[in-house]
Symmetry: D2
Subunit: 311 residues, 4 copies
Amino acid sequence: MTPSSASRYTYLGPEGTFTEAALRTLPEAATRDLVPMVSVPAAFDAVRNGEAGGSFAAIENSVEGGVSATLDELATGAPLMIYREVLLPISFALLVRPGTALGDVKTVTGHPVAQPQVRNWLAAHLPHAHWESAASNADGARLVQEGRYDGAFAGEFAAARYHLEPLVSEIHDTVNAQTRFVLVGQPGRPAAPTGADKTSAVVWLGDDRPGALLELLQEFSVRGVNLMRIESRPTGGGLGRYCFSIDAEGHITDRRVGDALMGLKRICPKVRFLGSYPRADEVRPQVRPGTTDAEFTEASEWLGRALDGRI
Amino acid sequence: MTPSSASRYTYLGPEGTFTEAALRTLPEAATRDLVPMVSVPAAFDAVRNGEAGGSFAAIENSVEGGVSATLDELATGAPLMIYREVLLPISFALLVRPGTALGDVKTVTGHPVAQPQVRNWLAAHLPHAHWESAASNADGARLVQEGRYDGAFAGEFAAARYHLEPLVSEIHDTVNAQTRFVLVGQPGRPAAPTGADKTSAVVWLGDDRPGALLELLQEFSVRGVNLMRIESRPTGGGLGRYCFSIDAEGHITDRRVGDALMGLKRICPKVRFLGSYPRADEVRPQVRPGTTDAEFTEASEWLGRALDGRI
Amino acid sequence: MTPSSASRYTYLGPEGTFTEAALRTLPEAATRDLVPMVSVPAAFDAVRNGEAGGSFAAIENSVEGGVSATLDELATGAPLMIYREVLLPISFALLVRPGTALGDVKTVTGHPVAQPQVRNWLAAHLPHAHWESAASNADGARLVQEGRYDGAFAGEFAAARYHLEPLVSEIHDTVNAQTRFVLVGQPGRPAAPTGADKTSAVVWLGDDRPGALLELLQEFSVRGVNLMRIESRPTGGGLGRYCFSIDAEGHITDRRVGDALMGLKRICPKVRFLGSYPRADEVRPQVRPGTTDAEFTEASEWLGRALDGRI
Amino acid sequence: MTPSSASRYTYLGPEGTFTEAALRTLPEAATRDLVPMVSVPAAFDAVRNGEAGGSFAAIENSVEGGVSATLDELATGAPLMIYREVLLPISFALLVRPGTALGDVKTVTGHPVAQPQVRNWLAAHLPHAHWESAASNADGARLVQEGRYDGAFAGEFAAARYHLEPLVSEIHDTVNAQTRFVLVGQPGRPAAPTGADKTSAVVWLGDDRPGALLELLQEFSVRGVNLMRIESRPTGGGLGRYCFSIDAEGHITDRRVGDALMGLKRICPKVRFLGSYPRADEVRPQVRPGTTDAEFTEASEWLGRALDGRI
């Protein structure tokens, strides 16, 4: 990777999306070359190919759920690792060409995932407006600029870029709607633990093993590791074949987490470690008695003594 | 509901989609009025409002995973129940205007979920073709008819409707790709058990209960009920708040299934029963010793005797 | 059973033992004919044969553990049920013939289970005294009366009967030593629940089923029923073949307890219900959310509605 | 320890018991000085004090269950370790003075644990004989020699020592009755694994932790380690306070066993390792996929690579 490619971060474009806004909250973004890409696979492949040092994409939305493209790109292809996460509250502005009044808005557009978040607002304020989906919120803004639609739901920050005005701001049917984004890079040593960390992995279960998911969860629970997210994804091997994308509390260097991951590795046909990184919410886990690093170390030493007969 | 509305089945349109093709595999479809709708919510609301007797939509795809719109519509709003499922193998045809040769195809379209299933084929046969997504596969066909694109990936059955020709057939990157569809209706008595049945439900877990998912699974495992699918969906209450959409082997009238559902009902803040219906694959479950209806009945009788001191 | 035999209670004799002392704490004992028997089997068989209305025996000691004879008699033969339990603090007196001084005591006796409870006291106060076991504490007292030994460890209440004197009282190496006794009778309807009840059972596990004990415990834990005691007993079928004698919190009429018992009945080759009866310590259990009778009833009603499609 | 004390093995005497017979099945017994002791504590204390190199005692009987004295001596006091186990089929002979006929036998004796194994035989053949318990089977033989009783139930091997004759042999109500004996020594490095090994430990559970036993079992089950025996013993801290004496399949050097022991060590207030030693029955365990040493090693290496980002 050249110095210039290392300083390049790709993201799911176009410019003006929430993804770009989230990416810009990273301090280092100021010194990076931020390059919009047409798809998550394209954005991530740039990292795989050494053309970029990192890539940034939404992975989960509190209204719409997991972002399949991101989850699937992380689960397959050359391995990547997550190094950072960003949470962004999602609210929309209705962007219009300057001079447009609310009563003039007959057609609106936006990314399909925007629709459920503005549906109620539309029903209340523009019940007769016709919705058509755009490829992205920013693309919707562009189409308004071009005159194809009267209004676009997008982040307020997108207005300037497309010479539009926010007619209404802070539109969000669901309070606390958030999107979670991740910064991925080529595999490397995880960031040092902060005490408020998260570990992500993808786990494949053996075929036709009823109870395999229960066993997976028990590898965590027996070591006091809480799961924060578990999402099934099809493996592509047919209906009923799933892998699970999981986020667990803690860092891979926490003994309880490393031990649980090794348990998964042993019982599952395939495990892909996706990284340990600081939690954006900075919440520190409650560690159950018996699962601290000190207790793991003490137990190892005890076993060592027992193996020597020094009990 | 009027007789005419009872005989109306809505589905996620437009005409010419895989959904319509799957719906037409139901024997009763021949005598129903099949009405395409613009969205899953619209299709299901027609049933809720009494304007249709049933509605049909994809719920899961072996490549793309759960269909969020369907899962979320079933989880929220006025209750509906699933009465039937249909499995449809998914393969695409490249539809073109008559006379188009492969070398003429510069732009292609299709539903976003079609893309990952034709990506490899495109890379191999049309590496320079430009893809743009359409709102549906059928919509893509229409856009080809209108001349906006050179080719559309859609079901071969859509060709005639849009005066197109299948240039290539049986395109599917993933062997065994299947989509599962469900027929929903207003809540009612489930169909009689066939011996090869499936039970669907949505289960909300209490907030901030680490281990709640494990407890959910144990309610099934302790009674020998296998889970066939489990999918997390956000509740809309913020990141980290999920409900789970599940399919379990067996029928609600199977004692082990009814008992497990009651267990969920007791430990979870909310459970929504979505129906028991015949499995499309007609696979009969292996019932673990100790979990047959006869054994449940025997245990009940034993308890009755013990309560009377007749041991 | 004749009226006179119904009013007869047998117990493990001879007279003057802790068993008799514990039995006399029952209010009804005042109006019963209390008959000492030579063995637990003999005492219990009198109930089985209709010669007695009840029988009383120790089942557990906080120092020595379970009383095998009682556990095994309850597990085999014609069924009996437990109707009452009594806790008796155990402390010993050193009984001697009148006029004996501590320095005169060269030989001491008592029941084998008394020895570990007086061992430290002996080492401190009579380090050179020779211990020989007697068939019972009372029998030891009789042997002192006959001059065979100089001192007997027994309950202080036994002194008068054998014309002995308590030379030292309140001897007990272990603070809080207690013995638990049970009153058994022919099977009948359990006493009404008091809110602080205990349920006893014997459970056989299938041969060669690793994990069968875990499954047994899960039938309780999944329904929030705490186990208070679990004791393995050989089945007589060879080493490695065990049954388990268990005490669970709650009454068989508590839905969570009845449900757990039915679970055992289904998964185990044999379950013997031994009764539900008031806890001597009158401690009321903490009932986990989701396991109250009201929640069981509510879940049943919910299932009933689901079966009818009234969701 | 002097060479002479190292070559001394104590056992629960007197001579002529099954314990001595079992001890003599050990090849090394031929070169050891076998010393009968009056009690299990005395026999084990000789090892603790360096007066003996080993001690031998029964720990479990397929009819009577665990031998409390042995279990409790292993659980408390200065630590000891088990190095060997011996299984001995138990059948009794009725030993009489020469010339005694069956019709002459009016009084019989034997160890209390012998009684349930000869009860049926007595009922059938000597229904009127009076039983009194002796301190040991060998002691009973001595009392017959002294003329106190007419017959003693003991091992046939005891006849010669007490100048008695076996009047009837092979008496055992229960087919396959066996006693398991253990050879204990001062703590030291366990014997090398044979592939058919057993690991013993005593585990204390935290007070008032409902579900603590379930957690204990899960530490084993999640790592595929089968429990062969689990026996509750009172801790002496009052009714309801137990520790558990357990035998698990496998050797402490098996990764799955060592890992499970460390899990116990972490979650339990106290664990005492009692040794890993060859199974007398030489049965090799079925090792569940995912729990072999190779898989543990592979998982450790995988974790090491993940910590370095080499995924």
